[in-house]
């Protein structure tokens, strides 16, 4: 029990505390234990801070701004406060001096874009397995299921490595939180990887019917796994992602289909599927179609009316170079000319761009 618990601080005690007239100064910490790591637990259970008034008594007391001073004597007239705020916050005009950045950049490092790519391949190849089964090419479907698993397996370790506290990765599965795309994504990745593993195991054990059913289930979860990454980015305050909210998830789906098909074509050709085989033809068509869709979606998104307000990061710095290099016919000069106009006032405009480009899913 702390020595001065609830004492309210008599004059003598305050003297003592100040080290004035003899007596040792009590410096028992209110929280934690001396010499131990910081904690929110009290050193002495139930102990209060010295001189505490409790019940927020300190906060209600002010010699400067009581009701009897001229700090805030008048009641506001109706609508006065609201209209003042609307006047200062509204409108399209941005003041000359903007102190920024307004938002913090994402802290994610290379693991996350790599995961986006691998997760895309896994999703795309689960679709391919479904397609092969539907078309009756069960041996290619088997390969596709293995590609799915191979792409899904490194995903979880990559994501764990990106955590600030990797040892606590299981906290991700502590709750099921439909509101948070990352929580849903973590659950989805777990289910997807397990189903993909079970499907391959069924294949190995020769239970092809079970494998097909599990493969279909994998593809079902793939519907979310391939799109949630785009949802996750679109649900941040980063303007270039948030303003692309309708386009970003479909772009991720398109690149997933393209990279998944490409990976399967690579593996199938390497394992001796002859060119001209309908599965290879189909894979080529999927790839072409998905890439065309991706191109249409991203250029449509970037050329949308009003995009000048948020697309600045796509044109500048390193992201600008990456995106610009991918854009057909892009030249440095054209990029320089495309510098955006005045940023809009409707949402936060960060001074630093996002750390990785918008279309990271398209690296494949």
């Amino acid at each position: 029990m702390s020595k001065r618990r609830g004492s309210g601080g008599s004059a003598a005690e305050r003297e003592g505390a100040a080290g004035g007239s003899g007596g040792t100064r009590d410096t028992t910490p209110a929280l934690g234990t001396r010499g131990q790591p910081g904690s929110y637990r009290r050193a002495v259970e139930g102990a209060a801070v010295a001189l505490t008034r409790g019940r927020f008594g300190d906060a209600r007391w002010s010699y400067l701004y009581g009701r009897d001073t001229s700090y805030a004597p008048e009641a506001a007239v109706d609508g006065q406060v609201q209209s003042a705020a609307r006047r200062m916050r509204g409108g399209e005009e941005i003041p000359d001096t903007v102190q920024g950045p307004v938002i913090k950049p994402a802290v994610w490092t290379w693991e996350v874009p790599l995961y986006f790519w691998l997760g895309g391949i896994a999703t795309g190849s689960s679709f391919v397995a479904l397609g092969c089964d539907a078309a009756g090419d069960h041996s290619s479907a088997r390969t596709a299921r293995m590609v799915t698993l191979a792409a899904a397996l490194p995903s979880a370790p990559l994501l764990v490595k990106d955590l600030g506290r990797p040892a606590r990765f299981l906290n991700m599965l502590r709750i099921f939180k439909p509101r948070s795309p990352m929580s849903m994504g973590a659950w989805c990745l777990m289910g997807f990887s397990n189903l993909a593993g079970a499907a391959v195991a069924a294949d190995v054990l020769g239970r092809s019917g079970t494998a097909r059913a599990l493969g279909a289930g994998t593809a079902g979860l793939g519907l979310y796994l391939g799109s949630y990454t785009g949802v996750l980015l679109a649900s941040t305050a980063v303007p270039v992602w948030a303003r692309s909210r309708v386009f970003l998830p479909p772009i991720f789906v398109a690149t997933a289909a393209a990279t998944g098909a490409a990976a399967n074509r690579l593996v199938l050709s390497a394992t001796g599927l002859p060119s001209g085989h309908p599965t290879r033809t189909a894979l080529g068509r999927v790839e072409t179609g998905a890439m065309a869709a991706e191109l249409l979606l991203s250029s449509g998104n970037e050329k949308r009316p009003g995009s000048a307000a948020w697309r600045e990061p796509l044109d500048q710095g390193r992201p600008g170079q990456v995106v610009g290099a991918r854009r057909p016919g892009a030249t440095p000069g054209a990029q320089a000319r495309r510098r955006s106009g005045a940023p809009s006032r409707q949402r936060a405009v960060p001074r630093r761009g996002p750390r990785f480009p918008l279309r990271v899913g398209g690296c494949g």
Binding site: R174, P181, P249, G289
Partner: protein, 347 residues
């Protein structure tokens, strides 16, 4: 106004929404709040850097270890319109930005400061200082119009986590580390956070960040530990001017509204509340638990003019678009395979 009751993770008899009202018009930029916060919460310094020629503010910005940050807003040269207004009012003998000074065509005539002040409320310290210096009559007066035109104002704003009603960080957190307490504040449980970093770009105000050494996300707790003991937060306790007022939310909003009215009555038309008292369609993130009285556009303080929890705003639309696209893609892939095989067999 309050958070969704289902979101409140901790329940306690008699607890109500507590918040901050930070009035920038009385802040003196002493940074006592910043220091008190660091002391109470055992936070390391983030280093002291003067951005070259930019500012006297040397403590950077809010971050994982800086939970209160006093922003200095400097080099606010008066706008052309303000300058013209001051000049014309001076020309008319009105005194412009420094009312009731005896002026003549924009020159301070200087009569020793006696008998020129209309009322005690108009006491002008610059004028008094000038006269007190014992300057002799006519020895080249002060160019008031020029002084007004060159006057740089200096503003301070003690920035902090806004404890939003619709908190983007809380919506994003996949581990449930970020909770709403019984005081309806937003609190990161340090023993649960695994440093995934999703809350960071999800905060529309750029408040929360991941600590480079510790690996966890950090931000103002509204001194949750102190609140549980009925103590006011360390920053509010330390603030010598009561620029930071802490109290029950509704009381604070009432004081803040009165303060705006008072400032308007004193001619400071630009005074407004950032984050409280708005109509529903104008609210910032559903209303801010820690709100501010500002006299300049929010962007000058590095604050967004509009803000909403990005997840509540975007996730439903984006999920619908994503799932729709995924269904279409899966269907297209299956169709391509089936058609290719049929065509292949026919050939």
């Amino acid at each position: 106004m309050s958070a969704a009751p289902t979101e409140i993770a901790i329940h306690r008899e008699g607890a109500e929404r507590m918040g901050f009202f930070t009035d920038t018009t009385v802040c003196i930029g002493c940074k006592a709040c910043e220091v008190a916060c660091k002391q109470w919460n055992d936070l390391p310094a983030d280093g002291s850097v003067f951005r070259k020629g930019m500012s006297y503010d040397h403590t950077g910005s809010l971050g994982a270890a800086t939970w209160r940050h006093v922003r200095f807003v400097e080099r606010l040269a008066p706008s052309a319109a303000e300058r013209e207004d001051a000049a014309s009012r001076l020309a008319a003998g009105g005194g412009g930005g420094v009312p009731s000074l005896p002026v003549d065509g924009g020159r301070w005539t200087g009569d020793g400061g006696r008998g020129t002040v209309d009322s005690p409320g108009d006491l002008d310290l610059v004028a008094l200082a000038e006269s007190g210096a014992g300057e002799e009559e006519g020895s080249g007066g002060v160019d008031v119009a020029g002084a007004v035109a060159q006057m740089d104002r200096w503003l301070f704003m003690s920035d902090v986590c806004k404890h939003c009603t619709n908190a983007g960080c809380l919506d994003a957190c996949p581990t449930g580390a970020i909770i709403r307490t019984e005081f309806q504040t937003v609190f990161i449980q340090p023993d649960v956070c695994n440093g995934c970093g999703y809350c960071i770009p999800s905060c529309p105000f750029g408040v929360v960040d991941r600590d480079k050494i510790d690996g966890r996300a950090g931000k103002c707790t509204l001194c949750y530990d102190r609140l549980q003991d009925g103590l006011e937060p360390a920053c509010a306790k330390a603030c010598p001017t009561d620029s930071i007022l802490f109290g029950p939310y509704d009381e604070l909003v009432d004081i803040a509204r009165r303060r705006v009215a008072e400032l308007h009555a004193r001619g400071i038309d630009g005074a407004y509340l950032y984050g409280a008292g708005d109509e529903p369609q104008d609210q910032l993130a559903g209303g801010l638990g820690a709100f501010f009285l500002l006299t300049e556009a929010p962007e000058r303080f590095g604050l967004p003019a509009q803000a909403e929890s990005p997840i509540q705003e975007n996730a439903p639309v984006a999920t619908a678009a994503g799932l729709g696209a995924a269904l279409a893609a899966a269907g297209a892939v299956v169709a391509t395979f089936v058609l290719s095989h049929r065509g292949g067999r026919r050939r």
